[in-house]
Chain length 375, copies 2
């Protein structure tokens, strides 16, 4: 019995409709977690984030350990109070950002030392320290430290890296202190090699975690490969534990992953796109920089309930983007997060009613018929 509650309420094929019960509230799955890297979902107030239907957000251990510091956040009452988000929070372990953002990395069996991209200061991240930092932050869901390999990567390197991550996963579990409503997730690695993925799942199951993430995807391998990897390993994971596909993705990536049994997602796409003038719709992606919008009195999407669609024309949003106004980022981020949350709500309803196959074909048809710019 895990201290983190999880119940599968309905299934439709491999797709699951579940409920995650954390110390800070319940999350209906499939669920999308907006990314709040530096303890803020960029350009959004927490009220606005919750208003889109989001129940759980992700924050980045790497960014927060460097600034303002995990001990400081702990003294200030923890991350929930610090960022004024009363709902559940999942923190990543920092491994991915160390590999992608930091400088002068030095990897060893023990962990990784690196220089901050902010001020060059030297830091160390070990499996034990990553768990400690996430406890200081007060994360509802803690992620094990892993090494994220590049793509493509030779098989021997992928195997070595995955096995190091598995040893780190076992050390993370040993360092982790259980609390009711909180959980520790292991991360399946192994690149695009199905047998390494299977070996990774077996290693994680030997240790035992409150949930299982699939990592190392959405790194350039393409949707076909990503789905093949999911096909190879998701079915090996225990049915009674939540499954989280890290860093994914675009709407069609998520629909395909739900079809393969994934419960949780996070991705910077809706927020980052909102800051670069892009708006997601069910028919494709609108680039608001495009001059064709400058006289268009229509909202982004007639049926969307978000403030951007209820109050403003495409012409106005185009104007805000051209003028580099902060309100452009605010409204487009809001819209994109609403689209992502509405997609999750529709996926949950489809699984509940046993109409998931029908939903998928409607979803594909709307995109195929789309009159919007494609992404």
């Amino acid at each position: 019995m895990s201290p983190l509650g999880f119940h599968v309420l309905a299934t439709d094929g491999a797709a699951r409709r579940g409920r995650l019960e954390t110390a800070h509230g319940v999350v209906d799955t499939p669920a999308f977690m907006p990314v709040g890297t530096a303890a803020t979902v960029k350009a959004m107030t927490p009220d606005a984030v919750a208003g889109t239907g989001a129940r759980m957000v992700l924050a980045n251990t790497y960014h927060l350990m460097l600034r303002p510091g995990a001990e400081r956040i702990a003294r200030l009452g923890g991350l929930h109070r610090f960022m004024n988000w009363p709902g559940p929070i999942l923190t990543d372990s920092g491994g991915y950002q160390v590999m992608s953002l930091s400088e002068r990395r030095k990897l060893s069996e023990d962990g990784v030392t690196f220089s901050s991209h902010i001020d060059g200061a030297r830091h160390e991240l070990t499996p034990e320290r990553a768990v400690e930092i996430q406890a200081l932050l007060g994360a509802d869901v803690t992620m094990v430290l892993d090494e994220c390999t590049r793509f493509p990567v030779p098989e021997a390197e992928a195997a070595d890296s995955m096995r190091l991550s598995m040893r780190w996963a076992a050390r993370s579990k040993a360092a982790y202190r259980e609390r009711p409503g909180h959980g520790l997730f292991g991360i399946v690695q192994g690149g695009a090699y199905d047998h390494l993925r299977a070996e990774s799942v077996a290693a994680l199951l030997d240790v035992g975690f409150d949930g299982y993430a699939v990592g190392g995807l959405a790194v350039g391998e393409g949707q076909e490969t990503m789905f093949r990897v999911l096909d190879s390993c998701v079915g090996l994971l225990p049915a009674d534990r939540p499954r989280y596909l890290m860093g994914v993705g675009k709407p069609d990536d998520m629909v395909g992953a739900v079809a393969r049994g994934i419960d949780l997602f996070d991705c910077v796409i809706p927020t980052r796109s909102g800051r670069t003038g892009q708006a997601y719709t069910r028919r494709g992606v609108l680039n608001l920089r495009n001059a064709r919008h400058r006289d268009d009195p229509r909202p982004l999407d007639e049926s969307c309930p978000c403030p951007a669609c209820r109050g403003y024309s495409r012409a106005y949003l185009h104007h805000l983007v051209q003028a580099k106004e902060i309100l452009a980022a605010m409204l487009l981020t809001w819209h994109n997060l609403q689209v992502y949350q509405d997609l999750m709500a529709d996926l949950r309803a489809a699984i509940e009613t046993g109409t998931f196959a029908h939903f998928m074909s409607d979803f594909a048809a709307a995109r195929a018929a789309g009159d919007e710019e494609t992404d």
Copy 2:
């Protein structure tokens, strides 16, 4: 009888408690208008602006004529619909921005030609075109085109400039088409020369306007000179018409101006300061960049009802400013606009209850005792 309703409900010394009635709603005065330069109060949604108590906003003719264009906004249903602000809007005439932002200016009796700071395109602004643009935007209050002189400026130059502005004011009035709930304001010029200010008032009264602005102040002359100029000319203005001090100011500037009979203000200080990490309080200005805030669990102001003060610590706001997060601009702008609106509400209450002198001494005492950084 002006088509723009204005009633003085109470006075206390020279200070006035009034009510401006426009086509888009009532504005209790003294009132502060947040600046929405490019058809957005930067980093704020219209709902948030209204939530602070603001009833009327200012938009800039210069910026909007260049981008997205006045004719385009008219085709899209006017500025109120375009920017989703259902309340009253005052538009400036563009004169000030032409002088401060545009390139290759050429001034003549007819008007001013200039190059856009955005794309270099050549534009012309005449008194007639400025009135036409503001009608296309749908402004509740239209401002006459004036020439804004630098400070300091020799008397002869100030006189020539003021007299040109007075001829333009008469042409603006001739070009302006009256509509119920809408009005045209003249602008008193004359630099720091009291007799030129008096001459300017007389010229404007000869033409007759729905309200009177005092322009050409807050350009570096200092508060003492500004108050002296107000002392010299505000009393000459008709008591039954609103009086607007353009581009002012800091809280103590506004308190002193209300004491001298001013009803309306606009200024970029609360919004611009919010984007540069500065928070106004009754005790002074907090610079959130300062490291002394990094462990401070207190809100900006215990008694402030704004979201920044209800939900967040100074430590968190410091973190957001350091991390250059958009939420820093959003929350600090919100707070500053709330402080400005609350000051206006207190000023109105003090005048209504005949306690304005008492309010002024309390206001000065709070600032003198302030433990915050001064601005």
